[in-house]
Symmetry: D2
Subunit: 343 residues, 4 copies
């Protein structure tokens, strides 16, 4: 059985486990105040070319979205997101649990188009009374999106500019950021993102960690007493070292970029295989998630030997499925997949 | 520098790291649905002699308290706890974040005495109208308590009985449960706890794990759609394997009990040293946390070579400090401490 | 200046003020436990032909929606509503404040079509994993809707049946219920609504009260300790008599229906005037809210002498506006409006 | 049957009902934007000698406490209150519902002593780490307290000064403020309170209104978009006129002070009666609530002819009960009470 089920189905990059072993017996102070956390933060700041950035580590994506959004919004504000955004659909109401509404915008292949946002803001502040409505207090983007697509530098610049016009922060969910940065067709760098966004996170869980996301507040805008707010949300790990050591490892010798790049190369090969086999793509994704349309019978057959994800029904006889590569995808598995598809 | 600062200052038990290594490349399903989680649950059920127990894994203590309490209380209820309870003082308002009040009872060395609880309940339901008050919906105990003390079987039986009289669940915070179970002066076993409590957790973070707590619902009383509620609180790890593998290791060949017992033996030696040196104890603790009273000058001197925790001021010239042993405490460090204290 | 701005721009029906005067000096017990509240509840039960109904009084519409929804949903559930529903758009995030998501369905003239709901439920429970999503825990309808439209008995029966299939309650927001019940083109009676819905409220604020809504739990399904939950939300009036006396008056000698009927007759005359003048309707409303399209210049002129509400932009040169009649609308004002429009 | 049960057992001051009648048919804009609200605010500002104060109207005490506290606290903060404070005990967890902890201080006859507060703050910021604790973000006082007692000008000045030292607002719950201001033994005026507190409210529900409290932000410190936050909490009345007209009436020709003074005179007579009869006082209250100790048998007898409140058990054979006067207490009732007690 080979697996392209998702990008979190294996453990951690071996170098991370080695570092955990090496440092295991050192007594370290808790709650993220240890030197490995400090080192990791310093390396991330350097990688972002943002020496003033405030970096914080959390355990997972939903937790990070909930903590960041709910500590940055004012009481009367909600967060704008694509209707396909992770916070809109697949976080079980975590934003609402913290008391805030997700205001949804129609998506285009998972993205919010700058014009859609612009028009929405203009309409909101345009006519009539909006004191009875939730105010837009933040824009949330995922990059790559839930469909594997990417914002261009032009798009992100425009969205950033709209946010600044209305004086609300731009938050980028980078659960799969590495795969976006190493995509063959992106023009956005990590420093670009640090500069255009007010806050974003560098995903670890899906890019080589056992768990962990690194939140970057790039404009000296970390909420006051952030550690207490993290604790209040049950999100403060006693052994912060677990997060610090992982990110320290990922940002040593460009490991994060190297393993992300590997996933992209594997995805390119995967695309080639699908092209060769003649399987139709649901949409064009330049990152590690590939969406294809399978005839239902074919899907059932393939399931017996390959793990992949159900995405959505296409029509009565076809289904959209997702194949994901990751830092741990092996070329041998691609080869085997190709054989299976051609057989 | 030697450290008795707390019981979470080192990494994980080596056998846990080995297991993480060994299983690292296996593709596993996410969110706690992998076979290691299943195995771990089975072993915990066996250890509790509670074949029907529902076991769930979470990452840390505050998170566990918040998730368990807020999913089990009704809207109009709060949780009863000692005024020294972790949820009352050191969780940054996590219970209140989830919308519920912590109703505090006066403690005795960290414990709620059965009579204190009984009287409180009787008074609450006694006279007058209580429709404008928060209803008691659960009793929260920590065992060992924040002062290292332990409930006796008689006390726990009485408290359990009061809870059942008023039909509210009894929840035991076992962040340091192993150290309680292996104490030389306890008469409570894990099956006793599973039988007397409605829900409790077996702490991993402070007993050999990188992170992780195992919640046991021992009365077929796990809240409906618990996974969704966990996700809603940002507490669902994508790589549930991280928790499953750790607990599977801890509950294989009684590792959990063995390493807890080690910490207790180290604590007994620590107590002996303090007795020999003539340092006064703040209270008598039968577990891994020891509280002694230091003269302030002496404390400042000792700090230079030994890490320990400030607990509270004793008087103008003395301070209560905490020394903690753990699964990872080395005998050599105790020896060194003794030398320092005697020099 | 004449006003059709909304249906809450005058005080209370004179008979209500008289009753407040008459009973003013009687010492009564607080928090809704007085005999006027009891009498009012009894009369409402009779009017609903639902002798077992549990009736509770609250102050306003948003408060009622928030209290009812948040006390009836389970932790992992959200409420389904039309994307134009009041809770979706104009309650400042009150449902989210209480920790729950509003799941939106596309509307048709303010209504949820039964087929839309049916398909949504089927899709939700159809394929794939939904443990990471907010579960549908209730259906919220407004009747009349925000566009003044009404559900037919057939539609409400179908929606009720879908709710029962999935075992979730159907909640009807009747902020303007009187105007719906007395519409010339409805086939739904108050007993029908009590029978088809699990919970609904009879609006007072917009139908003759100073404030107040009467919530009817028609299936013995009032949440446990409801008074405490109301208090917890800051929604319990000390002088519950204010609500009891108002509803007692409204449900004596059919006053509620009589004054609602008056508003409908006024609305019918209003429609006739617009037809005569040749003003286009934005949609066909059978209740007290009428939506017409005005040329912008004309709108500005009319504003100087008549109060009405901006609804939304129609196109660059036209605007949709709302005229509302109510229990207090005077025929003389209609006459004056007609003169103005014809002049 | 005569009633001293509480100070909210009758309707509204007759002048208020008259004004509601007189203005009833005027079409007014909603949600507190009408001219009566404006007038009332202006009069309150004048009465407070605080021309810059921002005044807002809400419906009841618990609602006001919850709205004010939760909109003024930061995420990581809680509110300090006496353990007998209304928010600590009798608001069903309303503060916690909004996500914040009530941090309790021991009371003295219902009051927080300045030294108690000072010591608490010093200890909190004194030693050790408090990042895991709820930060003190506001001080809540009730004046009169739940025991009818009053802060002196010196005490309030000291508490205000401590708050300013720690840069947190001082909030005074004035549910019964009129009775405090007109007490024969107070040295605090309304302008004093406006000057010493950062926010407070002037109670209407217990001082002549059907419902309503006037919140005064005296330091230009009303939270941003307050109306939206009020709406989000279900606390915005559509017919804001109900509150505006009531407070406009109360602050016309000093009616608020005049009727409060009446209640105090009635309380003084009540005290005299108790003294004459030789009933022991539980504590000395200078306001409209009087607490006496009754022998249980005597209490049961008296109950048959007089309504009063159970307060708490005194001992096995005695009970503390509360007699309250109000703006509507009649001298004839006092006379009758005296006769009953002497018979």
């Amino acid at each position: 059985m080979i697996s392209f089920e998702n990008d979190y189905n294996t453990g951690a990059h071996p170098r991370i486990l080695e570092r955990l072993m090496e440092t295991n017996t050192e007594p370290l102070s808790g709650y993220g105040t240890d030197p490995y956390c400090e080192q990791a933060k310093e390396k991330i700041r350097a990688s972002c070319q943002c020496p003033d950035a405030q970096v914080e580590f959390l355990s997972g994506g939903t937790q990070t979205n909930s903590v960041v959004i709910s500590t940055m919004l004012s009481d009367y504000e909600g967060v704008l997101a694509a209707d396909t955004g992770h916070i809109s659909t697949h976080e079980a109401g975590a934003i609402e649990f913290a008391g805030h509404k997700v205001l949804t915008l129609p998506h285009q292949e998972g993205k919010i188009l700058p014009d859609t946002l612009k028009k929405w803001m203009k309409d909101f502040y345009g006519d009539g009374n909006h004191e009875h409505m939730v105010f837009p207090g933040m824009v949330y983007l995922s990059h790559p999106t839930e469909y594997g697509t990417l914002y261009t530098k032009e798009e992100l610049t425009k969205i950033s500019s709209i946010c600044h016009t209305y004086q609300i922060p731009l938050f980028l969910d980078g659960a799969r950021l590495g795969y976006g940065l190493m995509s063959l067709s992106t023009d956005l760098t990590l420093p670009d993102i640090a500069s255009l966004c007010d806050v974003f996170y560098i995903g670890g869980t899906k890019v080589g960690c056992l768990c962990g996301e690194a939140v970057v507040f790039s404009k000296q805008n970390r909420p006051s007493h952030f550690m207490t707010s993290v604790k209040k949300r049950g999100a403060l790990l006693a052994k912060g070292r677990l997060l610090g050591i992982q990110f320290d490892t990922l940002f040593t010798d460009d490991l994060y970029f190297e393993i992300s790049s590997h996933a992209i190369m594997m995805a390119e090969q995967l695309k080639e295989i699908f092209h060769e086999v003649g399987l139709p793509f649901y949409l064009e994704s330049p990152t590690n998630q590939q969406f294809i349309i399978l005839e239902n019978q074919q899907m059932e057959e393939l399931k017996k030997e390959v793990a992949f994800s159900f995405w959505e029904k296409y029509d009565e006889t076809h289904t959209v499925v997702r194949f994901a590569t990751s830092w741990s995808t092996k070329e041998a598995d691609l080869k085997k997949l190709k054989e299976l598809l051609l057989s």
